[in-house]
Amino acid sequence: MTRPLFGLALTLALAPPALAQDTVPPREGVRVGITYEPGVRPGVLVVDGPGDEWLDSVRAILRRDLEYGDYFEIITLPPNDTTELGIGAKGPSGEFVNFGLYAALGADFTVRVRPGETSTVFLYDVRAEAVRREMPVVLPPLQDAGFRLAVHRVADEIVRAITGQAGIAATRFLFLQRGRIYRIDADGADLQPLTSAGTRAFSSAWSPDGRRVAYTEFHEQGAQIYLQEVDAGTRRRVGTTERGLNYTPTFAPDGRTLVYSRSDESGTDVFAYDLDRDCCLQRLTSGRFADNLSPTFSPDGRRIAFVSTRAGLPQIYAMSADGTGQELFAPFDYGVTGSSNAPDWSPDGLSLAFHRDVGGSPQIFLMDVQRREVRQLTSAGRNEDPTWAPDGRHLAFVSNRTGNRQIWIIDLETGRVRQVTRGGEARLPAWSGRMY
């Protein structure tokens, strides 16, 4: 992907898309030459230049965030060539911006960071030869715990300025690794344990504002659900989870209700717990001879999709938030279709992701909620436990495509995939909303 252009070795930072494992049709165009072609991802250039470690880090994080956002083709230049870009130099009519050169490099937009007490991020529209957005932003020092998140937010604003919808750089995952719940930024940086060593946790969930998490912790016989403040680390046990196994917690979109499943001697059922009033446990399903678990809210908070074994194998059902109106949600052929589990309702409400056994391995499926049509997204290895990004365009899931189970992200528009976690087996991911 390297070719000579104006004496510059122009590298398009396109990680070769690992499409082989996924059956989603790639809609990715191939950028030919230097002219803009409709349907091709716009080119974005984050301008380098003289700078300290802090500025280099800001630029590197922005570049990677925009790359991971999958909207743009990121144009990177060999470091020696950056001086020719001439950005920031004074011209006869204010600052000189070399739009001609950016256009020649294939950039539709150019990002420039001017550091300061309050830094300014400029987004140039190259074809219009104009400033698209000028963003004053206070960015903390490099060692500050909030540094990376602050830069991720800038990246999300750049995406919003170009596409109309914010990016997903300022988001995080929860996941389970060796019995502990960890938190990691969506770009795979800043890994932090949220539960102590020596305890055994299980499934976890973000509160809608991203400030709290709920997770299951195994005790001698049972499993209880805890609510933990992410920053302070303080936690309390949900009082109604004293007995039995309590797991698969999920917050209602308004953050006031926690819905989870409980297994005990009467089977496994879905319960709703009033967080605001710290009381009023309500049983939403009742199946002496069937298990009901893994609830997920529709974004308007009025419906809950969940797993039930009422027809034998686990399949996806739906009900109103009060437990009424239970119905089969994702169609299946009795005796033919494999087990279906782990539903997650998309943030736009239009799609339901889940995994379904195909020939002994779970694969990711998507259902069009309106049409109730199901399509298979992955096909090789084990791919399970999907979780939506807040943009409804990216989906994370657990895959063993590199050997052990790790968290991967797929862009449903382009089919591009990337790995988020590394090391020990990572399971049961939960993708946060935007951290603002």
Binding site: G267, S339, G360, E384
Partner: protein, 210 residues
């Protein structure tokens, strides 16, 4: 004995020579006196020695008896412990399941029948049944499946006369594999119910005929 005469002659010669070497008069023979106190003491000493001898024999005999009793007691304790261990082993015997199933397999009913007999013979005993799964199913669903596997064993036991409050159930899904090998054999071993003594297991009686 033939050497005794010449030897005594030789000794006599040595004694005479020694007396001559001293050069003084030979010492007068001691006047014989009758010391009755000394005689009494010596008799008392002899008596004490005899008593001590007899006491030590008695003590040794008692010690031997005590040790024998202890051995007998230890033997019977060991027998009880052995029986407790044997019964505990039978009580802890796992049962296994088919993939994604929670029904008791025909071959495993005998294992559960033994547990029922043990629970009947030991009314103070309570147990916890924990269901487990192999790692192929869904992580979350496996907790529900393990729960159902534990409930299936409990139902079998309770239906045959054991009080429900003597059996509690739990599940660990696929979180505690016995064998992480990832083979068919390992998966089959991991799909199981474990049975743990919750209370009353210090001393267990084997049911008649077991």
């Amino acid at each position: 004995m033939r050497l005794s005469i010449p030897l005594s002659l030789t000794l006599g010669a040595i004694v005479l020579a020694a007396a001559a070497a001293c050069g003084g008069q030979p010492a007068p023979p001691p006047t014989p006196t009758v010391d009755s106190a000394a005689i009494r003491d010596s008799i008392a000493r002899a008596e004490a020695a005899r008593r001590a001898r007899e006491d030590s024999i008695a003590r040794a005999r008692a010690e031997a008896e005590r040790m024998a009793a202890e051995r007998r007691r230890a033997d019977s304790l060991a027998a009880v412990t052995r029986e407790t261990e044997r019964v505990r082993g039978m009580l802890g015997e796992m049962i296994n399941f088919d993939f994604d199933k929670s029904n008791i397999r025909a071959g495993d009913a005998a294992i559960l029948d033994r547990k029922i007999a043990i629970l009947q013979a030991n009314p103070g005993v309570t147990v916890t049944i924990t269901g487990h799964c192999d790692e192929r199913g869904s992580d979350e669903y496996n907790l529900a499946l393990g729960n159902r596997r534990a409930l299936a064993a409990k139902e079998y036991i309770v239906n045959r006369g054991i009080s429900a409050d003597r059996v509690t159930t739990a599940s660990r899904g696929e979180e505690q594999a016995l064998d992480p090998a990832g083979t068919e054999d390992a998966w089959a071993r991991n799909r199981r119910d474990e049975f743990a003594l919750a209370a009353g297991g210090q001393q267990l009686r084997a049911p008649a005929g077991m």
